[in-house]
Amino acid sequence: MSVSPTLSVAEIKDRNKALIEEVLKVYPEKTAKRRAKHLNVHQEGKPDCGVKSNIKSIPGVMTIRGCAYAGSKGVVWGPIKDMIHISHGPVGCGQYSWAARRNYYIGTTGIDTFVTMQFTSDFQEKDIVFGGDKKLAKIMDEIQELFPLNNGITVQSECPIGLIGDDIEAVSKAKSKEYDGKTIVPVRCEGFRGVSQSLGHHIANDAIRDWVFDKIAPDAAPRFEPTPYDVAIIGDYNIGGDAWSSRILLEEMGLRVIAQWSGDGSLAELEATPKAKLNVLHCYRSMNYISRHMEEKYGIPWCEYNFFGPSKIAESLRKIASYFDDKIKEGAEQVIAKYQPLMDAVIAKYRPRLEGKTVMLFVGGLRPRHVIGAYEDLGMEVVGTGYEFGHNDDYQRTAQHYVKDGTLIYDDVTGYEFEKFVEKIQPDLVGSGIKEKYVFQKMGVPFRQMHSWDYSGPYHGYDGFAIFARDMDMAINSPVWKMTKAPWKTEELPLLQAAE
């Protein structure tokens, strides 16, 4: 189905440029001018992808983005399993994000663990009119009574909180005092703040800094004896178990993982992290802030890594090991060697079925670049990619380390643009989110959700790569895609068709 392999890079660039021009025509002039800055064709050697990013979405264009609340409650805080996260405001935000992100954890839900529960203040009109602080205080009392084994509470602000002037900080402080210094964290992640999930990540990171780190008594005895090999996994949300299939590799190479941020994480792990010797950072976008803070305040270096696909995993293991002594460096080599036969077998099985297939991505966080290596390990090519809420530093990393010359780049893509791009480029696979999944499947394009791993996973680490390869094969080579056309309908139609 793919058309690009038959074209030269120059031809691909021309086609992609023409395609951008074409989609822009649908917009009113002002919108076309604004959107033009978010679309580009990557030029090799450039320091970034040549697109504007992290600016406001345009009203009415069907952006795929979410909000700051989603970034804080949905991404950063929600997976901290032994704390109760109150969705503070009307019922909807907590309802739609309830257990939807597949942050795996172990624990007795409802007793000492609370990830897949929806705690909400369920604001009514009177709370808007008279303010919700008293209700919030009462909610905390009721939580203490009914969920006595919770290790802390966060207040995840929804839009109205910041608009009606509630003082959630004061409530949190007062209740923390009342409950013997209990960790209670107010988070100002109202959905209207910022332009996407991204500000929510930042606000959530800052809240950990201000309400967890800064509350730790400096003379508190450590809960465990530190070792020279203590690291923290930062920016892995354990979707489908990703952090676990990553942790096992770090431990096998001789490191000790003292904290997971935040998939299957706990308050104790957050509090212990300033004791780490190195922070290893997977999702740079959502947790670079706290990593930088720990570097400045505690002198902990941080190291970005990529655990998608054997090439990047090996590269990353060596990079992480470079911060440690020979024992760890040897450990990294042993781990790479241990899994080599598995990787060889996975690639031998799946690469012949996937060689030359093209992929278009549109995802959030780290994935628009991080998964490219995994596809390349399978002989596949990413021909278009873009970030839901990336910043320029994401596009720099993408340009310098990941994408090929001529790749179509689309920042904060609109539904319309994405459909048109896919219709014209006709990739063999699209990787994006639930809102996009069925659009492209209707068009007859194989699709994998690359936020939730389409209910599969893990995709991180060596164990995850086997699943990733199996899933991509399953999507692309499913017999269903041969049946989309009724055999008696013989007239020639374009292969894929977006909505007019």
Binding site: Y27, P28, K30, P59, G60, M62, T63, I64, R65, G66, A68, G89, V91, G92, Y96, W98, T108, G110, F119, T120, S121, D122, Q124, E125, D127, I128, I139, E142, E145, L146, C159, P160, L163, G191, F192, G194, W244, R247, V257, E269, Y339, L342, A345, K349, G415, Y416, G433, K435, K437, V439, F440, K442, M443, S456, G457, Y462, D463, T484, Q497, A499
Partner: protein, 519 residues
């Protein structure tokens, strides 16, 4: 290393291996500062007690695991029931991402909806410019026939005036002056998704009937013999609408479905993405004023819409998500009375088949106790059906149910000997239900996907009926209305009962004597 290329292990097998189990145990012990297991066990047991239930029911401020969503979700659901209509939600954009995801996860379908993407500056200055730009962009990009506007709580808190904003947008040329932009204020802090459905539908009907926000003359009603039909917020809209259309066809009734989203939530995979499909045409929406009567299948989804319609001179009739024999009888007899069309023999045969199926199977349901939760109308429909099966709907709970609803459920209980020990819970959530299931156990639980946590904690087998259903596929394509729909519900309930019996009688030489081959 348990993973292999030959037999790729998924998360459910992979993490059960000794390597991972050991790793996770170490993580917990060393770094999680875990609670004493005995203490966890003590609290776990305590949370099952009547004492805990009392504290749980004494909650005044905290809501835990509610069975309701917010207004705009219902508004979006209603809007896509009109031909080539895009729902436009004025407020923060994250909300729209949530509605679209939520609907897509249930229907396994695309869900198209736009936002005016208001941010901090709009919070300060109001969202007028977002409306002006947003309407222009949506109109140009997607060429909709109609843009149906609703609001998020952000726009409501700052007090944006949709009527004025849309008028100004038209003056600024965002969309043509005569273009249809109905609107509804849908604050998330009032009611639930069923309220939003009601408000949005009322807004659309008002728009067409009452002079399009003062821009044209109000329509004058010229009565005809047609019937308007409103389904309400319904996770089974795909199957139900088709079933209702079939019934109307059999009866020879000329009808208009208002907000028919059965096509847009069930489009084919044939190489074309249909952003729009089916739906009530705008002409039909306007012409619906002339109908003889309007029938709502869900009273609590149309509490404002029906009075508006009645005020225009039509007869209105509301049902409560009718399921089963007598509820369907009542529905059909009302249709027959209003239209003067007799109920055809074919439907009588279908009725007979449902009664036949009930007679065949009721011994397995009779006397069984059920807990039900869901939207108010669905709860009534299901409870009514269970009563006529001789079952007891012991706990009936709707987070978005009010006092009037509770009284109606109580009246239903009072109408049947099987309802004598049943109780209704309005405004309660699934954490309340958890206490109920521990302290007054039932045989089966009926609810949406989130009921699986209750099933896990309390061991009460879950029958998935409701919205949303995320973890089972395609049930929304089957009707639960009509005699045919009643049969579907009967089968779903029976399947779970039989599975449950088999699963508890399958230990050889211990509990195998009831493992019957014929049931």
């Amino acid at each position: 290393m348990p993973q292999s290329a030959e037999h790729v292990l998924d998360h459910f097998d992979l993490f059960r291996g000794p390597e991972y189990q050991q790793m996770l145990a170490n993580k917990k012990k060393m770094f999680e500062n875990p609670r004493d297991p005995a203490e966890v066990e003590r609290v776990r047991e305590w949370a099952k007690t009547p004492e805990y239930r009392e504290k749980n029911f004494a909650r005044e401020a905290l809501t835990v695991n509610p069975a309701k969503a917010c207004q705009p979700l219902g508004a979006v659901f209603a809007a896509v029931g009109f031909e080539q209509t895009i729902p436009f939600v004025h407020g923060s954009q994250g909300c729209v991402a949530y509605y679209r995801s939520h609907l897509s996860r249930h229907f396994k379908e695309p869900s198209s909806c736009v936002s005016s993407s208001m941010t901090e500056d709009a919070a300060v200055f109001g969202g007028l410019n977002n409306m002006i730009d947003g309407l222009a962009n949506t109109y140009n990009m997607y060429k909709p026939k109609m843009i149906a506007v609703s609001t998020t709580c952000m726009a409501e808190v700052i007090g944006d005036d949709l009527n004025a904003f849309i008028k100004t947008s038209k003056e600024k040329g965002s969309v043509p002056a005569e273009y249809d932009v109905p609107f509804a204020h849908t604050p998330a802090f009032v009611g639930s998704h069923v309220t939003g459905y009601d408000n949005a539908l009322k807004g659309i009907i008002e728009h067409f009937w009452d002079g399009k926000a003062g821009t044209t003359a109000k329509l004058e009603r010229k009565p005809n013999d047609k019937i308007n039909f409103i389904g309400g917020f319904d996770g089974y809209t795909v199957g139900n609408m088709r079933e209702v259309k079939r019934i109307f066809g059999l009866m020879g009734i000329d009808y208009t479905i208002l907000a028919d989203n059965s096509e847009v939530f069930d489009t084919p995979t044939d190489g074309e993405f249909r952003m729009y499909d089916g739906g009530t045409t705008l002409e039909e929406a306007a012409d619906a004023i002339n109908a003889k009567a309007t029938i709502s299948m869900q009273e609590y989804c149309t509490e404002k819409t029906l009075p508006l319609i009645a005020a225009h001179g039509q007869e209105v009739a509301a049902f409560n998500h009718p399921i089963g024999v007598s509820a369907t009888d009542k529905f059909l007899m009302t249709l027959s009375r209003i239209t003067g069309k007799p109920i055809p023999e074919e439907l009588a045969r279908e009725r007979g088949r449902l009664v036949d199926a009930v007679a065949d199977s009721s011994a397995h349901i009779h006397g069984k106790k059920f807990a039900i939760y869901g939207d108010p109308d669905l709860c009534l429909g299901l409870a009514g059906f269970l009563l006529e099966l001789g079952a007891e709907p012991t706990h009936v709970l709707a987070t978005n149910g009010g006092k009037a609803w509770a009284a109606k459920v109580q009246a239903l209980f009072d109408s049947s000997p099987f309802g004598q020990n049943c109780h209704v819970y309005a405004g309660k959530d699934l954490w309340h239900m958890r206490s109920l299931l521990f302290t007054e156990p039932v045989d089966f639980l009926i609810g949406n996907t989130y009921g699986k946590y209750l099933e896990r904690d309390t061991g009460t087998p879950l029958i998935r009926i409701g919205f949303p259903i995320f973890d089972r596929h395609h049930h929304h394509r089957y009707p639960v209305w009509g005699y045919q729909g009643g049969l579907n519900v009967l089968v779903w309930v029976l399947d779970r009962i039989f599975e449950s019996i088999d699963a508890t009688t399958n230990v050889p030489a211990k509990s195998d004597y009831s493992f019957d081959i014929i049931r």
